[in-house]
């Protein structure tokens, strides 16, 4: 097992109940996991916990052989070697595409940096956009740059928060396929969060259904979306998938 999350619990200081409750998950190396749940179920919070942007009240997280956090230790986010693509991409507006990507490569030599920028831009098919500023890119391009930036430092684990929520529907379908191709070609272990079953099905090797901060189901797309006929009752999301299978 590459990623190991055990008994994770978390509570925002101003909320009454636990936002995340006894969350457990193991992930294989190179696997793509989707966390599927309705809005407010705690998906972003889980990603933030794994990233180290929040400190859990209980539980531990292992990535590779490294303990990211337990009740006695806590590794700062910048030391975790975990990458993240934010919902609104968070590309630095005052830097060019190239500088955005180089940002995560501070310890690399100048030449390696340059090569790596070329590599990841090729991967996302945007080699000609090096010198552009983020505001000069379309939404889809921004997203691919955000992906390139997150991939550049070769993270052990890559997190995506609702990667398609800011894209229009047809673009979403195209990019979904491409995203899976890119992730699989780099072999990076990834977790992405969504409220859309189609996304989960198209992208993920395994799906974790999250409800009110707890794991409701874990399994392949087939197991979760394909065979469970009661799913429509339990998931308030429109079960478009069922009609298509």
């Amino acid at each position: 097992m590459f990623v190991h999350i055990r008994n994770l619990a978390f509570k925002y200081p101003n909320s009454k109940d636990n936002t995340i409750n006894d969350f457990n998950l193991t992930i294989d190396q190179g696997e793509i996991i989707s966390i599927l749940g309705e809005s407010g179920s705690g998906k972003s919070t889980i990603l933030r916990l794994i990233a180290g942007l929040e400190m859990p009240t209980n539980g531990n997280i292992m990535v590779g052989d490294h303990c990211m956090c337990s009740n006695s230790t806590f590794t700062q986010p910048e030391k975790r070697g975990v990458g993240m693509v934010f919902q609104d991409y968070a590309l630095f507006p005052h830097m060019t595409v190239e500088d955005n990507i180089k940002f995560g490569l501070q310890k690399w030599s100048r030449k390696d940096k340059k090569n790596r920028v070329g590599e990841v831009l090729e991967l996302v098919n945007l080699e000609d956009y090096r010198k552009r500023y983020p505001f000069e890119l379309s939404g889809g391009q921004q997203q691919r740059i955000a992906l390139a930036r997150a991939l550049a430092p070769k993270p052990k684990l890559l997190l995506f928060d609702e990667p398609f929520s800011n894209l229009d529907a047809d673009l979403q379908i195209r990019i979904r396929e491409e995203l899976r191709r890119i992730i699989k070609s780099t072999g990076v272990t990834s977790i992405f969060v969504t409220h859309d079953q189609d996304d989960s099905q198209a992208l993920a090797d395994r799906i974790v259904v999250l409800r009110e901060g707890e794991v409701a189901q874990v399994g392949t797309a087939q197991e979760i979306l394909g065979t469970d006929c009661n799913f429509a009752d339990r998931m308030p999301v429109k079960p478009r998938v069922l009609s298509r299978v």
Partner: protein
Amino acid sequence: MKWFRSLKTTMNLWTVFSVIFVLLVLLPNLSIIVQFFAEPNENWLHIREYMLQNYIQNTLILVFFVGILTLFIGTSLAWIISAYDFPMRRFFQWGMILPLAIPPYIGAYTYHGILNYTGVIQTSLRNQFDVTVNQQYFNIMNMPGAIFILTIFLFPYVYTITKAFLARQSTALVENARILGSSSWRIYFRVVLPISRAAIIAGVSLVILEVLNDYGVVSYYGIQTFTTAIFQTWFGMGDLQSAVKLSGTLMVIVLGILVVERIARGRRQFSFTTTKVKLLQPVKLEGRKKWYAFSFCMFIFSIGFIIPVIQLIYWATMTYEQLFSHDFWQLIWNSVSVAFTASTIIVIMAVVISNFARLNRGMLAKTFPKITILGYSIPGAVIAVGVVTLFTALDRQLFGFYEWLGLEPTLLISTSLFMLVFAYVIRYLAVGYNSIESGFDRIGTNFTEASRMLGMSVTKSFFKVDMKLIRGAIFGGFILAFIDIMKELPLTLILRPFNFDTLATKAYQYAVDEMIQQAAIPSIFIILVSGIAIYVFHHVLEKE
């Protein structure tokens, strides 16, 4: 173990420096509070018995009338200018802030100079019309005069805050009222005043705090208030201990006002809650009405800005040789260098504390911002007393150390510029802080988090990302603090080292010494710098 983990991970330089800075802000105030409860001396008993009531009474009269008058002038201007279109409206939008460029003490002696026996009005009446007036009607150096001065130079606080609110938040309500055919007066009293309650209260509170802070106007006009009493007991009677008691009492009043403000505002915030703001469209006034609106604005603008400025320029033409004297340039250098130093420190402290507060959760992160802006509510004279008592105590502790160093064993820190700068920082930290905090609010924490996910520490993220993105806010905070410090009077009068003068103290000194014409050039300089800043800010803000 868990709390230890928490402690360990949040304990970085940002936390450490935030704690130190906040303690620095707290210390002088604590120093007053501690000594407030010390055994009273005879003088204090005397003051309390015979004079305190008078101080309280005068202070409250000032606060009450200036509060009410600025409320009506500020809100009515805000309403007329945001809801109607009439000649010169675009200019008045920012022009109405300009009276703020004239510190009230400068306004006070300028108006006295205009109205007194040798002033332009009486001389013209005598020379042209052979009329000699009853001096009583032209005497401004009394309570109503002080109320007039403070009102006319402080109302822009209410005007700006209310106008910002009305322009963005009132659209739906006002448009509804218009459709229902309400008259403008009715809308003003029934809609505008109630919905902008929180904004108005915030503006009026600022005015009140400025009134409590004022020393120049009341002492020049000979009115006994808390600030003048603090000066008198301290410098007149040499009784610092009683000055501390007075300061403590004034602090209690200030805290009372802050509490009342909180309650009056209720849970309503006047911040802009919706991101989709619809701007209020001004209605074009026609015929006589448009000239009424214009005249009202022009009248206020004239007495709040044009008249005093023209008078000062006239005086300046009589004394312009000053400009070529070494002393005058020394004054500018003094003012600019202390203001520059203090504003730089303010900006650094504000950045550290606000960055800490936004990136952390928990008690400290919540309370630090509140403590940071505390100084702005506390009158300058009180801060001065706090700082002096703190530093003399410190000097006494260091007495042996000075001796050991072979220095003339004296009061080293408590007579230095260091103390003045320190006091400025405490008093105006809030000004820089608010600007920088709003800058941070605008960019959110996403960029910082993205930077950390790419391997940068909090500190590196700050320098490579956050600082670049809030440059404007940092610069804005610096300029605002700089201008406030240049204008500052009571703190500077008390804490300046021997023979150290700033533009503000010199202008005031000339006026007190009946050399009003001489005061003009330094005053104009202060007004010019503040005026330019107001212009630039308004035009930058408008674009955003």
